[in-house]
Amino acid sequence: MNIDHSPLEAMSRRAFLANSGLGLGGLALATMLPQTGWAARPPHFPAKAKRVISLFMHGGPSQLDLFDHKPRLKALHGQELPSSVRGTQRLTGMTSGQKAFPVTASAFRFAQHGSNGAWVSELLPRTASIVDDLCIIRSMHTEAINHDPAVTLLQTGHQQPGRPSFGAWASYGLGRDSENLPAFVVMISRGSAARPADPLYARLWGAGFLPSNHQGVAFRSSGDPVLYLTNPAGIDIDTRRDQLDVLAELNRQQLAAHHDAETATRIAQYEMTFRMQTAVPDLTDLREESEATFTAYGPQARQPGTFAANCLLARRMAERGVRFIQLYHRGWDQHYNLPSDLRLQCRDIDQPAAALICDLKQRGMLEDTLVVWGGEFGRTTYSQGKLEPTNYGRDHHGGCFTMWLAGGGIQPGQVYGETDDFCFNIARDPVHVHDLNATLLHLLGIDHTRLTYRFQGRDYRLTDVHGRVVQSLFV
């Protein structure tokens, strides 16, 4: 796909619009509007997934306590991690100075689930029940070992700020599928762990050097769901309509005088605000959801701003054609007190995430909706700080971690990749963050090497100069 239209094509497009604004009255303009801005663009090749729901577990969930079962660690519990295993992997400054690296077995029970016998920890019973729908990748890896660079790498393909986020690339590459909603939406929820939540940054859903209209739009649980959506106090819908009509009339006069296509676009965008003022509240109004749905997603789904409520909203957005829906759930940074805090975090997300998969499946949407679960890195096999009888913590670990994918062309019921007995190194089928992004783009019908944008003399892409599509994950 040639994303960048040539200037000549662009000129004629612009020319046409400017031109058509000249002799047209309100009626013709109105018929132009439904098209403006919302036509999707064709992918490089047929897409398996039309949209992505990313369930981002910010902080780095412990793969050792959730998915990557290491029964041998029980016997080694408390013993020093062999230096041959530790090798040369970089450790963060929080543990690199530790005198001891005691191997720490998970405090949680694991059992096999589903027809493929995937191991899942007791902390995620609902996830375990849908494991046949998931593809669990245990061999994710990243070179970043601190939150800021790791999450920036995962979301933008680069550890340092300045690049567009995945959702922005998706919006840029594929356009919108929704008439009245943005292509890229972000929702944030706060975890239940006592551990302080690590910071997020606007850049994680920013457009980087792409045009700013590709940046993610934050949907918020208090105040306006979309910033500035609601009319000011004292302005009702009729007054607003009146204002918009007068604006359109005067702007049409301006268009006729200046022939500037930007004016025609502006007229359309002001009309769009009016439609968004209906479309967004319609989206966020959960009253039409059935009792069964709330039962499935759990009682917190009724509490705006929770992960459960956001999962339900994500499904409603998916139904309405939002291209990239990203949930951030904060609080997965269990340096200390992992047993108690991880339990709380899992309780936040287990039921709603599983319910989302079932819900999508039931509605026939899972096949073209790609769901991604995971954080920016994993956690160490050794304990951070003192290993106590009932308590431990784990430091950041980029050497291996677990994510799961579902739907959208992903082969379900798969467990991909393997780590060593200590869950410190990858033993088989490594998947780098760039590989994951290349793979996700592929499912969206995009060749990651061809989705580029020229900035400062260089054709940038999400996967930088890296990335390999992991074909074996596909149906």
């Binding site: 662009a10 105040g223 910033l227 007068v246 268009l255 500037d260 200390y336």
Partner: protein
């Protein structure tokens, strides 16, 4: 070409200004190689093709070079390659291997290879063919070649040099300059371009008596000129008010920002502007202002994330300086050469690290601790300097008065000790639920779990020492946690997060209560069901760790967050209410735990004198409790074993409670003077500055750009392909800065004038404003660019003079209407300048315009950043543990110019992001220009605009009498012109309908008129004002209002 399909609608109307991202080749072919008769130009026609398709593998970088073939210089390209064939045989395309490879269909032979992202078009192939046929001449890349001194072409009737260059090009394309814009439109245009503000009514009134040139001079001498110039510079310099990475802590750099404004206002020559910002600290006898100027290269982000590897980020800061400096002054992206030789431009990896070496000597660390990363300087203002001296004298004087008294007071205090013990208030004795003095052995009511308890000197006798491996439990079956209660204890906390006291379920609903220590703050959870039915409050001001504090928490049984109070060291402290949704009981069967939450969150530190009381103690009782225990603890220790600090505590207490009032006055005077001095010192602004290590840090080439893969050592230097290093320049930043502004540097002047051109025309003569390298676009008017560059240098780098030259040209003054031919716009991108430019105003100008039109703008220049209106909750969503809140200023801070708005990189002002502004994390030289519905929502619904519209309407109502006069005044204030009848008509209709509506709904009028903070005078006719406010609000949203034409 003109068939409109869904594709074009998509791209255009998503709001991107059309054709911004360029496929250069197509454009070049279309406009330049129009006829086969015209010979091919290497730089114009061939270089882009080679650069785009060939040089990645056959270019400057030997590591990436394939098959030994090099196509970026003539001798190498003519030499037979490994295959034995010469890629290029001049004059003989048919014998040139290049031609056979690019036209091959066999996948093994085809070039670029089949896996390449792009293929050559037929048009590109024919250009290469023609070029080889014409002799395959190479030219150096235009921007690396010396700036040519060019004279404007002679064109009849054209006096202004810019117009001569432009008219000559227009003639070539069969076009001509458009007529001049209307005088008022022109004033509006030039006022925005030079001051960022619309013309005032007075500026418009002066049109008949003041020439355009005089007006331009007035604008250039306005203090608002420097503000407007600073905005673009702040983008380039990635200026912000926070550190950016991870915790994104506040930083102070506004002194540097003010330096920039002042520098522009004083028209500091651009060479000096350059030298001072890059190396002001290295100038002989550097002034404070020159050191502040170096903040340019300290505006980069800083990282405070615990556990990061120091050198990794220290290197990152140097990388950022190199990138920002080269992009801003040289228009080059050298970043590619951080990992390998540049693939397109002649910059080797070694040369990259030679540049790096200039910026590698700052005494700094990668891991930021505290605020305002050193090196930094404190810069007291004049009045602060005076006050400092005064306060120091006051402290001294107070001490001199108090010292003699102190001697006798200390003696009296010691004598009173025995009596004091009898008169001290006792800790609460009634309604005690449980108490422990933390002496071992503990009463049998307590169960000790985990590792053995340790004792440690405490507030009274011993305290218990915890290290998260042990805790105490006790059962409190008689306690009703839903009724009133008080919990008090002494705490000496270590670590960042732990739980000193809890009574909470570990799983399920997590019902109960817990007190957490979180980096100096106390967080209290009262929970029926966590997440849905709970109270969470946190103390706002952190207290010091590793010090004793008395903590008391009271609850009045109301189940409201406001019913919870926290007292630290005897005083009530302010709380943030994070959750307030408790409606049901807290009762749980869990035991009271001391030193742990449940199975996790063990406490690190000391605890002493823990008590729970089944009523709400009064503030007085709590203050007494604290005092009684503290003093008892001291008095029970023999005097010779007391720490000095405890003796001070006793003395203070003696002075407070027993001494003569005069003693208290004298003591208070000392304390107040010291506090005032401290407070003043803390308020003195600081600025991050550049500094040099006494011994330069060795710089090594970093393999693949990695901080931990150092290779060969390099010395500071500049790329060989550019101009020579001045023989007398020192090999440091100062020398580098002098090299940049040396007359033979081919880039600096071109890049600078191109940016000034963009300021006035919306686009540069080189459209790729941040890429003057081989991948960028060549200038549309190369001779004009070089003329401006030499003029700029010759003038002594006079920025105001260059701007004046540009805005007084007819080219600038043309009307901006699109020119149509056969109903198609001619040159819609305005490359040939047959019309004046038009574009949507940047965010800063949009908001400033509304404030000016409303008469709200506070015109003060400079000072600390401000916080205007912003929807609540945005900082909480993303900040560390939701700890930071945006609190809008009260008063003037709401209406200062937008460049003073505080920028938090993690959560920049939302309007800035909506209107294409950067996050200020990286150097930004050009903002995109989009046109989106979210922008429309902001302009329609943000408080700023509603308040501005109301003030604007108020002004019109007060200043004029009739509707007609009011429409005129309104439109002059917003659009700088009067309305035509056809425009008044719909507005009049709107006004009349809104009058009817507000008359029928006076409450709506009241609500509409109370948005914002400026009060509406009670005498005003609310209906009339409300209706006119709707009209003004509509006007502020007009396409014409938000666009600079």
């Amino acid at each position: 070409m003109t068939s409109p399909g869904p594709g074009w609608v998509y791209r255009f109307a998503r709001g991107e200004t059309a054709a911004k991202t360029t496929s250069l080749v197509v454009w070049l072919i279309a406009v330049s190689v129009g006829s086969a008769a015209e010979p091919v130009s290497f730089n114009r026609d061939v270089r882009p093709i080679l650069s785009q398709h060939c040089w990645r593998c056959h270019g400057f970088d030997p590591a990436a070079r394939k098959s030994g073939l090099r196509l970026d210089e003539r001798p190498a390209a003519l030499r037979p390659a490994d295959s034995g064939h010469a890629a290029i045989v001049p004059g003989k395309p048919d014998e040139s291997a290049l031609m056979s490879r690019i036209t091959a269909t066999d996948a093994d032979l085809q070039m670029p290879p089949p896996e390449a992202a792009r293929r050559l078009s037929a048009q590109e192939i024919s250009v290469l063919k023609q070029w080889i046929a014409e002799g395959a001449e190479f030219q150096p890349h235009w921007s690396f070649a010396p700036i040519k001194r060019t004279a404007p072409p002679k064109i009849d009737g054209v006096a202004h040099p810019i117009d001569a260059f432009v008219a000559a090009k227009l003639q070539q394309h069969g076009m001509e300059l458009a007529s001049a814009a209307a005088p008022a439109a022109l004033r509006r245009r030039v006022s925005f371009d030079l001051t960022g503000l619309p013309p005032t009514l007075d500026d418009l009134d002066r049109m008949s008596t003041e020439s355009y040139e005089q007006y331009v001079d007035r604008l250039l001498s306005s203090p608002h000129y420097g503000e407007r110039m600073a905005v673009d510079w702040l983008d380039a310099a990635r200026y912000a008010d926070t550190d950016g990475y991870f915790g994104d802590k506040p930083r102070q750099m506004w002194l540097w920002r003010d330096w920039v404004i002042e520098a522009f206002n004083h028209n500091l020559p651009f060479d000096q502007f350059t030298v001072e910002q890059l190396a002001g600290d290295l100038l002989p006898n550097a002034t404070t202002q020159q050191r502040i100027a170096t903040g340019f290269n300290r505006n980069h982000m800083s990282n405070d994330e615990t556990g990061l590897i120091d050198e990794e980020y220290r290197v990152e800061y140097v990388v950022d300086r190199v990138e920002t400096t080269t992009a801003t002054w040289m228009g080059l992206t050298v970043g590619c050469a951080q990992c390998h030789d540049h693939k397109y431009d002649p910059i080797s990896q070694r040369e990259y690290y030679q540049l790096f070496a200039f910026f590698n000597n700052v005494p700094e660390t990668g891991l930021l601790s505290g605020h305002n990363a050193p090196p930094r300087i404190s810069v007291p203002g004049e009045s602060q300097q005076l006050a400092l001296t005064e306060l120091a004298a006051m402290t001294q004087a107070a001490e001199r008065t108090f010292e003699p008294l102190k001697m006798s007071l200390s003696m009296a205090c010691r004598e009173s000790e025995a009596r004091l013990l009898d008169t001290l208030p006792t800790p609460p004795a009634d309604d005690i639920l449980i108490h422990t003095s933390c002496e071992s052995p503990l009463s049998p009511r307590w169960r000790a779990l985990g590792t053995p308890l340790q004792s440690h000197p405490g507030i009274r006798g011993g305290a218990l020492k915890f290290d998260a491996t042990q805790h105490l439990e006790a059962d409190l079956p008689e306690w009703n946690p839903d009724g009133p209660w008080t919990i008090g204890f002494w705490l000496f906390a270590e670590g960042s997060l732990s739980c000193p006291l809890s009574m909470i379920e570990p799983e399920g609903n997590r019902r109960g209560l817990e007190i957490l220590w979180q980096k100096g703050r106390f967080v209290i959870h009262l929970v029926h069901e966590w997440g849905t039915n709970a109270i969470e409050v946190a103390t706002r001001e952190p207290v010091a760790a590793k010090q004793w504090h008395h903590v008391a928490i009271t609850h009045d049984g109301s189940r409201l967050a406001t019913g919870v109070r926290v007292f630290v060291d005897g005083d009530a402290v302010s709380l943030d209410i994070r959750r307030d949704a408790l409606t049901q009981t807290l009762t749980t069967r869990q035991p009271l735990r001391i030193g742990r939450r449940d199975e996790g969150l063990g406490y690190y530190g000391l605890l002493d004198e823990i008590a729970m009381v089944s009523r709400t103690l009064t503030p007085d009782a709590i203050a007494n409790w604290k005092r009684g225990e503290r003093l008892r603890g001291i008095l029970e220790t023999p005097a010779d074993r007391r720490p000095a600090r405890d003796t001070e505590v006793l003395l203070d207490d003696y002075i407070d409670h027993q001494a003569e009032p005069a003693a208290r006055t004298a003591r208070d005077a000392v304390q107040q003077a010291r506090a005032a001095e401290q407070q003043l010192k803390a308020s003195i602004p600081v600025a991050l500055v550049m500094d040099e290590l006494p011994q330069p840090r060795p710089t090594r080439v970093l393999e693949r750009g990695q901080y931990n893969k150092p290779g060969d050592e390099v010395t500071p230097g500049v790329p060989a392909a550019l101009s020579q290093w001045p023989s007398d320049a020192p090999r440091n930043r100062l020398g580098f800065a002098r090299w940049l502004v040396a007359p033979d540097n081919p880039l600096t002047a071109r890049v600078a004038v191109n940016r000034l051109w963009k300021q006035c025309f919306g686009e540069g003569l080189v459209r790729t404003i941040n890429d003057f390298g081989t991948q960028g676009e060549p200038p549309t008017h190369p001779e004009l660019l070089d003329f401006l560059a030499t003029t700029f240098q010759d003038s002594g780098w006079d920025v105001k003079a260059l701007l004046r030259l540009i805005v007084t040209s007819d080219t600038y003054r043309q009307r901006s209407q699109f020119v149509l031919k056969d109903d198609e716009p001619v040159d819609p991108e305005n490359r040939w300048l047959a019309r004046g430019p038009s574009f949507r105003l940047p965010m800063e100008m949009l908001r400033d315009q509304a404030l000016v039109a409303a008469g709200l703008l506070k015109p003060r220049i400079g000072g600390p950043s401000v916080k205007p209106y912003q929807p609540p909750g945005l900082w909480e969503d993303v900040s560390y543990n939701a700890e930071e809140s945006y609190e809008p200023d009260r008063g003037d801070g709401l209406w200062r110019r937008s460049l003073y708005t505080s920028v938090k990189r993690q959560a920049p002002p939302p309007a800035l992001l909506l209107f294409d502004g950067p996050t200020r994390e990286k150097c930004t030289l050009a903002r995109p220009r989009t046109n989106t519905p979210l922008q429309a929502l902001y302009l329609l619904n943000d408080d700023t605009y509603v308040e501005a519209a109301r003030q604007l309407a108020s002004d019109c109502l007060a200043a004029t009498k009739t509707d007609d006069e009011r429409f005129t005044r309104l439109s002059r204030r917003v659009l700088s012109r009067t309305l035509r009848d056809a425009e008044v008509l719909p507005l009049r209709g709107l006004l009349d309908r809104q009058r009817l509506r507000f008359r029928a709904e006076p409450k709506s009028a009241d609500r509409w008129l109370t948005v914002g903070t400026v009060p509406v005078p009670p005498t005003v006719d609310a209906v009339e004002l409300a209706a006119w406010t709707v009209v003004a609000h509509t006007m502020l949203n007009l396409d014409e209002a938000v666009t600079r034409r």
